[in-house]
């Protein structure tokens, strides 16, 4: 069982709802992941257009909503977005993300730390999206974050665990859950993150952009479970030299 703040999760696969071709596919894929925590963003509505009510069907599925602060360019805007989300959804859970650069969507460490401290002081359960920076993750833990969400590679890039050596340090040092977020592009990469000891992963684009999102969702579900079990079982040592697994009987010299 994974605990973040006072929320408990059996599933260690968190899922994003963006980029799906339609709401029906998204809901079917989320269901196939068996995720219990699902992200949504906040947007000012356009009164001239109909908008899909995604919230009601997700709530009917019984998942918890993790609103994000996407679109915020600094700490002040992120705090505002968190308060907006809290009022709308009646939750204090917040995925804090501040990425002002539209090309690589790199999280702004300084603004994120400032906003995290403010939101923790206001009683939010803060999950900050950050670069895989062990020092920053430690600082975020110090100000009271409930988990950290370091990136594997740029958001939506499907590049996988480009930051793997640094994720290992974060996992080793953190006393709060580590959720590897962003860039996970294949079930094998999610499995690897879990084998390393990540507490959970958050996946969106890899599922949404698959030709068969529901089947891919099932694959991620299996991969995360397998990776977690492998971590619990304990991976064997890596050695440079071969170590024989069979007796080296000398058949030719009988």
């Amino acid at each position: 069982m994974l605990s973040i703040g006072n929320h408990n999760f059996e599933s260690r696969l968190f899922t994003g709802t963006g980029k799906f071709s339609d709401a029906k596919t998204m809901l079917a894929a989320i269901s196939a992941t068996e995720s219990q925590l699902v992200t949504l963003a906040m947007k000012r509505i356009d009164p001239s257009k109909d908008f899909d009510d995604l919230l009601t069907p997700l709530q009917q599925m019984g998942v918890k909503i993790l609103p994000n602060t996407a679109g915020a360019r600094n700490a002040k805007e992120a705090v505002f977005a968190a308060e907006l989300a809290s009022e709308m959804l009646g939750t204090k859970l917040i995925k804090l993300e501040i990425h002002p650069d539209p090309k690589y969507l790199m999280p702004d460490a300084v603004e994120t730390l400032q906003a995290a401290e403010t939101l923790c002081n206001k009683g939010f359960t803060v999950l900050p999206y950050v670069h895989a920076d062990p020092v920053l993750c430690y600082r975020l833990e110090e100000v009271g974050c409930a988990a950290v969400m370091p990136l594997g590679s740029p958001i939506g890039s499907n590049q996988g665990l480009a930051t793997e050596p640094f994720l290992e340090i974060i996992i080793e040092q953190a006393n709060i859950p580590v959720v590897v977020d962003a860039g996970i592009g294949a079930p094998s990469q999610a499995c690897r993150a879990m084998e390393m000891g990540a507490d959970a992963v958050l996946v969106n684009t890899a599922i949404a952009s698959s030709a068969d999102p529901v089947l891919m969702a099932k694959c991620f579900n299996q991969a995360v479970k397998t990776g977690r079990q492998a971590y619990l079982a304990g991976l064997g040592n890596v050695t440079k030299q071969a170590e024989h697994t069979s007796p080296l009987t000398n058949f030719l010299n009988l």
Partner: protein, 67 residues
Amino acid sequence: MITIEFNGSAENLDSNANLLQLIELKNLNPKSLALVLNDQVVPRSRWAQIECQQSDKIDIFSAVAGG
């Protein structure tokens, strides 16, 4: 009659309308929205108690797909 700015557009409104009535007038489901009045988030419990004022800036937000 007063004029307000609703999600970026100027709108005329009966002078006694409160925030909840404005939401209903727009056929919006109040359960899944957040309302911002002059850059302040207004708790749902207060919507029926606050009357719209001339030049108020009101923005309505909803949850949308995102990662």
